[in-house]
């Protein structure tokens, strides 16, 4: 199966399994194939963040198997997971995305530096292309503190795309942005998926954000309760409201 990210019967329980334990993920099985833009939706507390952390190897699973680009994440130790993250996973977080002491270009090149290798000519051209397309061409020497929130998020996207990772994980990438910057950022992610074939998984609770994706997964109480093709914001909102009402 040509899937870049696959969960099979993954559970994640916080706490010691007693009555106070929380099942953040409950027997989740899903495969994200190469290419495409997948949104993971759900109300807060549905396990979205845990899904993301587990997919990134930032958190251990309690049961089940997680594969990223063919590597069994659940069987790797911390160091091996760090290296896998470095080489196969790109990140865009809600906030605090950039290393404040490094300038824009240094932040974007950090993944290459961590891998300890020089840029090939084509990679160099790719990075310059990204910086240009993302409108950062004249800001490469600025520190993150000198940029607006939207600009910082674009730098984070450039950094995530630069090493052409197997998968880019975006955790509420528009959570801290105004409407215009949000639309820009979402458009960029969609473009990256469509034009560059970059696999992107985005966690969000915002129906508008999820409407940019071409696949929508829905989590509720740690379970995967929906798997849909692209939808309009209205459809997604109705779907979510349906789950909330159903749960109440």
């Amino acid at each position: 199966m040509d899937s870049l990210l696959s969960f099979s019967s993954v559970s994640k329980v916080y706490g010691d399994g007693g009555p106070g334990a929380v099942r953040a993920l409950d027997d989740v099985t899903v495969a994200v194939p190469r290419g495409g833009f997948t949104a993971v939706m759900g109300p807060s507390g549905s396990g979205k963040s845990t899904f993301m952390n587990v997919a990134a190897g930032l958190d251990d699973v309690t049961a089940g198997e997680v594969h990223v680009a063919g590597h069994p994440l659940h069987r790797l130790d911390d160091r091996a997971r760090t290296l896998l993250r470095r080489e196969q996973v790109g990140f865009v977080f809600q906030s605090f995305n950039l290393v404040p002491t490094l300038d824009v270009r240094e932040n974007v090149l950090l993944p290459f530096e961590l891998a300890g290798r020089r840029l090939r000519t084509d990679e160099h051209a790719w990075v310059e292309h990204l910086l240009e397309v993302l409108g950062l061409g004249d800001r490469v020497a600025h520190r993150p503190g000198e940029l607006s929130g939207g600009q910082q998020q674009r730098v984070a996207i450039a950094r995530a795309l630069a090493p052409r990772p197997a998968v880019v994980l975006a955790d509420e990438p528009t959570g801290n942005l105004d409407t215009r910057s949000s639309r820009e950022v979402l458009g960029l992610l969609r473009t990256a998926a469509r034009e560059y074939g970059q696999t992107i998984v985005m966690v969000s609770h915002d129906p508008v954000a999820a409407s940019y994706a071409d696949r929508v997964l829905v989590l509720a109480d740690g379970r995967l309760v929906g798997d849909h093709d692209a939808m309009t914001p209205q459809q997604i909102a109705e779907l979510l409201i349906g789950f909330e009402v159903g749960a109440a």
């Binding site: 160091r79 990140f91 605090f96 950039l98 290393v99 950090l110 993944p111 961590l114």
Partner: protein
């Protein structure tokens, strides 16, 4: 501590350094005062000139003043670091209606309270230690039984001075509170405001004037020493004070550059690069945590180098073997005593350094989580923190040693230059080696604990943390 200062300053633990430093300083003052009281009573009982009492008092006061000064620098840094990590919360308090002045006042009161407790306890413990030691020496017939005062007259004033210095330091260190605007509570991180151009120019001008005049006076002292003029040594002291003050005033202009120069030698891989940037992230803080150490190392090296030079000079004098041995013995002992007296300031600075490094790393928990998520291994995080500590302390130790060697040699030259050919100087090998070893230990102490803590936190926890 009131609720309000607890809100601004957070846990008492963060002010622990202030209490510890005040206590060390107070203890030192207490011991020194008992020692000088003992010497004074003894010299009077021998029927010596009463001026000796005055001289001893002045000497003790000078050493105590140096320790108080270093403590104040450490406290400024401690308070500044704590506040830098809590700017968001302070901004939130401002948003909710607290005014900046009263928040700053709360910081000063909280810090002063801790310092008063630490300083007073330190002085009393120091006096007690001194009294007990003296009683033991009297009992062993090593000291004559005299009418010693159990509590030296200056003991309580010393505690007051420590407290006042801490209050002033808290005032200076809490300047950042005024810069926290309510809007920052709603937006992102804050960037420390740079010196205003006017302040910068004044600082530059003062630095050049002080260092220039100090260097001239020092050169004059070296020349006077050749002619055996007694004014020479006083001129050397004055020159050292002038240029030393100049260096303190101008440190902000020079030290961050020196640190970034040194940190460039660490390497160009990502951990080294981030470490190098972190070392000079806040130039003010970098300068203060380095200058505390520079003062300490300079003082120790000055005395060590001065006496080493004197011993080299004395060895070439025309005297009998017995005389030569006696002179060397006296110089060696005096040197040891002086170094012991000034080494305390270095210890205070070292405590401050370790505390600033640790707090800085704790405040960077989220940033370290980000680096881990991006692919820094835990080993690389450790390397990064250690290298930052190396950059700062290597600069401080190198700077202080160079300065101390120059001051020491110039002091010796101004005293005995006329009795020797050429310039008098000496290299106190063992002391320099000792300082280097202490520097390595300091780096380990300052980076081991925070880096262990940093890698123990998983990236998920780190990214979620609010600090």
């Amino acid at each position: 501590m009131t609720t309000r200062s607890a809100l601004v300053l957070g846990a008492r633990r963060e002010l622990g350094t202030v209490g510890l430093v005040a206590a060390m300083c107070g203890f030192y003052a207490g011991v020194l005062l008992v020692a000088s009281e003992t010497l004074r009573v003894n010299s009077e009982s021998v029927g010596d000139v009463s001026a000796i009492g005055l001289v001893l008092g002045v000497v003790a006061s000078v050493f105590i003043a140096v320790a108080v000064y270093v403590s104040a620098v450490v406290i400024v840094n401690g308070v500044d670091t704590v506040i830098a990590g809590r700017l968001k919360q302070i901004a939130l308090l401002r948003l909710l209606g607290a005014d900046a002045r009263s928040l700053r006042g709360a910081v000063v009161r909280g810090t002063t309270g801790v310092a008063a407790a630490g300083g007073t306890a330190g002085v009393l413990a120091g006096v007690l230690t001194g009294d007990v030691t003296r009683a033991a020496l009297v009992a062993a017939d090593r000291l004559p039984d005299g009418g010693y005062a159990l509590l030296p007259v200056l003991a309580l004033p010393a505690a007051a001075v420590v407290t006042l210095a801490a209050a002033g330091a808290a005032w200076v260190g809490s300047r950042a509170v005024l810069r926290a605007t309510p809007a920052q509570a709603l937006s992102g991180a804050s960037v420390p405001a740079p010196d205003s151009p006017r302040a910068g120019r004044l600082r530059r001008w003062l630095t050049v004037a002080l260092i220039g005049s100090g260097a001239l006076v020092l050169a004059g002292a070296a020349v006077l020493g050749e002619s055996g003029n007694a004014i020479g040594f006083l001129a050397a002291a004055l020159g050292a004070m002038l240029s030393g003050t100049g260096l303190l005033v101008g440190a902000r202009l020079v030290v961050p550059r020196l640190v970034s120069l040194v940190s460039r030698l660490l390497g160009t891989d990502p951990p080294s690069k981030v470490a190098a940037r972190n070392a000079v992230r806040d130039p003010g803080r970098t300068t203060r945590s380095t200058m505390g150490l520079v003062i300490g190392v300079t003082l120790v090296t000055t005395f060590a180098a001065g006496f080493a030079a004197l011993r080299v000079a004395a060895a070439s004098w025309d005297q009998t073997a017995a005389q030569a041995a006696q002179t060397d013995d006296i110089l060696r002992h005096t040197s040891t005593i002086m170094i012991c007296l000034v080494v305390v300031s270095s210890a205070i600075a070292a405590v401050g350094f370790v505390s600033t490094m640790s707090l800085g790393v704790i405040q960077r928990t989220r940033e370290i989580g980000l680096l881990r998520a991006l692919g820094f291994t835990s080993g690389q995080v450790r390397t990064m923190i250690t290298k930052e500590s190396v950059a700062l302390s290597a600069t401080a130790v190198g700077f202080g040693m160079g300065l101390g060697l120059a001051y020491g040699a110039l002091g010796a030259q101004s005293l005995v230059g006329f009795q020797n050919d050429g310039f008098v100087w000496g290299l106190p090998g063992p002391v320099l080696a000792g300082i280097a070893v202490a520097g390595v230990l300091l780096v380990l102490a300052a980076s081991w604990v925070p880096s262990s803590r940093a890698v123990a936190v998983t990236p998920v926890e780190a990214l979620r943390s609010s600090t």
